[in-house]
Amino acid sequence: MHGIADTLGYPEEATSTQVPLLARLHEWVITVDHKRLGIMYICMGLVFLLVAGLEASLIRLQLVVPENTLLSPQVFNRLFTMHGTTMVFFVGIPILFGFANYLVPLMIGARDLAFPRLNAFGFWLTLFGGLLLYLSYVAGDGLYGAGSAPDVGWFAYAPLAGRAFSPGNSTDYWNLAILASGFGTIATSVNLIATTLSLRCPGMTLSRMPLFVWMMGVVVSGMTLVILPPLSAAQIMLLFDRFLGSHFFDTQAGGSAVLWQHFFWFFGHPEVYVLAIPAFAFASEIIPVFSRKVIFGYPMMVAATVGIGVVSMGVWAHHMFAVGMGRTPNAFFAASTMLIGVPTGVKIFNWLGTMYGGRIRFGTPMLFCTAFLFQFLCAGLTGIMLAVVPFDWQLTDSYFVVAHFHFVLVGATIFNIFAAMYYWFPKATGRMLNETLGRWHFWLLVIGFNLTFVTLHFVGILGMPRRIYTYPADRGWELWNLVATLGVPLQGAAILLFLINVILSLRRGKPAGNDPWDAWTLEWSTPSPPPAYNFDTIPEVKSRRPLWDLKHPSDPDGLHE
């Protein structure tokens, strides 16, 4: 093994601790190794998660009592803009693409992504975008002295985001930061697709790929290729409007006030699935291993994922029922939105079918996945409610919508990100995360999350609009706002416990060995952490669970598939 490491020019693991800090950092900066880039993506996402979580805490603190004067309206607008933008582009995307980066080559028996240097380029572009967005806090005043951080919402509706209504440079920071990170994400998607289609080890046919690879390497990456460029195009138009005096979104020159919404949501709604399908991908790996059963309905899972990917591109205007599009578009988008519930329901039943009759082990990853099932179901049901046009007219832009999509993005995505952290941390570091701290983390997060976001449904139905910086005392919203804010410290404590767990476990965690969960996919056949070249020899697989075949030679999976 040393011989290979030397010829490839990689430092040996044992000596790397003696290398001076600066040289070690330098190694990370110049790396093109998919595992290191994956870890850097995830670390970047966690840092931004803390920042955006702090922003959310400030928002909740402002709303804890009526007529609060903690934050000015301007600061409040900036906070919800930065919170949303950061969470979607610099927390969700980096963490999920980080996991894909780390796991896709390992799961398909490849040594790296198809284009390692393009991969590094994508990461640094994404990080640059995140830093550029936050530079606006010090540099966003521009020449006009108007605003610092962007305050136009994460969707930056034009013409509101045009020069006339958003002077100064803060909106340009939003625009350019998302444009830069968007190009990085497109590059990484091209990379993941090429890897999945071209670098599978012998025997790894498409129908034997782990579901994680199907979902991340094919569907999410493919969707990203189709939906992110339209956002980039719309942002370029906004840039032209703001700097070259063009009229794409200029109503005074005959431009449309609605066109941006179409362009944005054509990206924005599939983007929700780009953030949610990875949660399905994690669940599809973790639930079978912890139920000690093969995944139920593998072909239907693949078909349902592809179905969600395709249908998700035809639902965007359900964000715009209140715009006044007319009866036919409203009916079409209501129907397509309800249709997407079908493949999603198929998935829920498949996970339940996997658990049914299994010998379930409730390790921390499985706890998070179980909570995900309940919470994602709630998110889906409120989603169907919002697809009913008259219902949406009542509750659009209310806290009911906020509660709905936080059930998707926190209740499903963030929960399963934590499941994945506990599940694959041993592979990436060679040490287990502490289970006791993990359980505390889980229960605090479940209670805190539901305290905050279940109550936001109620206050939404009672009529509280989104994005208001304060509210009068006589509306009957005080109790729910108080309860919602009480959930925040619990969630904060949960995240803090997770970070403590990571730091402690990195130093003193139980050694993990190659395969701590008795799992079946190829990454668990490598040492923990895997060497830079992943596999000594490229493996050959004969079924969907190559490690099962290895451990049970008398009853290989291939007989039953």
Binding site: A114, S246, G254, S256
Partner: protein, 203 residues
Amino acid sequence: MNKGIPMPSVLTPEFPSGDWSQLSHRRAGVIGLIIAEASLLGIFVVAYLFYIGKSLNGPYPKDVLGVPVVNTLCLLASSVTVGLAVRALRQGHRRLVSTWLPVTVVLGLAFLAGTAQEWYGLIVDHGLTIGTNLFGTTFYSLVGFHAFHVTIGVVMLTLLTVFAWSGALRPTHAEHAELVSWYWHFVDGVWIVVLTVVYIIGR
């Protein structure tokens, strides 16, 4: 729980890797790039179609635009010549490669020159800029974006030409050259869409 998996048995290929063939990763990458590019340009096409006839003041397309026949012929011809160059490279006819590649570059440059001439006329004679009206806004962005892609293609083809002349471009590089030609065909295909939308439907 860790059973210390006996690695070699899962890791030893039993059949020769020749039986296992997949799409080349370069091709997959370029297909991905082309899908993303098509999606990007598609939004500019949608914006153009959406704003046809919505300009509040002139000049209007029917007054100032003529169908760019020569430009179109140049670009369509260049798709043929780049195809001939790739085929010659694969068959090892160096002389032909060194001829067809520069011909393609010249045809691409002729297209860009034609666009420059058209824009010069629009700006100087008709006073149409990106800020004049919705027609100017959508016209310059869509046609400009296409011309930008033509420029990228011309740069790549020029590099290939230099490598062909220096002898660095060998038949083993046929796939690389073919992928450049894919990009060039894509740019050509986009032009047909632009031609239809801007110069036929939009007039």
